[in-house]
Every structure is written in C-alpha cells, then in structure tokens.
Symmetry: C2
Subunit: 79 residues, 2 copies
C-alpha cells in the first residue's frame, strides 16, 4: 500500500482541507498518515526535509502538494 | 457519484500535480472532471465563480483546494 502523509497544524484552513482530503483519498490504495504538529512536533524536521514549506500539505511519492495556505513552517515552529 | 473538478493550464506544476491527484482520488466515489483551460477556455468564468485564484486547483463540494502554484487566473486569462 502506498503511503500518503497529510501534515497540518490545526489551523482553520488545515481542518477544512483535511476533511476534503480524507474524503478524496482512495483508502484501498493508500495508507493515510495524518500528522498534527502540535501532537507530533518531532516530525517537523521530517516534513521540512521532504520540502514542506507551509501547511496544510500532502506528501505522496515524495512530492509535496501544498494545499491552500494555512501557516508557514516558520509559523509552525514559532508555535 | 460526487464530482471533483481539476482545473489546470498545462504548466509543469499543473502536470505534476495532476498525476498525483489522479492517483489519489477514489474513482469509486468520485467522478473526476479534468479541465485544461487551453482546451476549454469557456470554463474560465465558471472556475473564477467557484473561487479558483490560481492553477492547479481542485474543486470538491464547492470548496477550492489550490494545489501548489502554477499560474494565477490573471496569467491564465492573458494566455
């Protein structure tokens, strides 16, 4: 099963996007990992290495899809 | 079946996003309509009314997900 990771920070834009993304993704083909940075701050570095510049973002096959704009990673790190 | 529309303009960012989006979307739940503005310029107005500000963009349940940034709608209209 392919893995897709949705990174977010609990912002309004993030939550709205999350609902649509959860709805869209084919669960028979993908394992969806949802990472809320407030819960998993240790995964901020991983996201940045993958190229995530802002949240919400979806990473699939090492490609980053930035979806709308909730907050920059600098904002995320500033808490 | 719910309908999802992917608007794009053939740009590199659009094409890369299109591949991932086509891959992600659950075809059992969604009918995916792919609109390339070069082929369907008459649908530019429709996209703008839905709130599309840039391409590539995915519209699901009247919510616009702007995915990365390929071109603004102003660029699209300027051809």
């Amino acid at each position: 099963m392919q893995k897709v990771t949705f990174y977010h920070a609990g912002c309004n834009v993030c939550v709205a996007a999350e609902q649509q993304v959860l709805n869209l993704v084919d669960e028979n083909k993908f394992e969806l990992d949802i990472v809320h940075f407030a819960d998993q701050p240790n995964r901020i570095a991983e996201a940045e290495e993958l190229g995530v510049k802002s949240v919400p973002a979806l990473v699939i096959n090492n490609q980053v899809l930035h979806i709308n704009f909730g907050a920059s990673m600098a904002d995320v790190k500033a808490g």
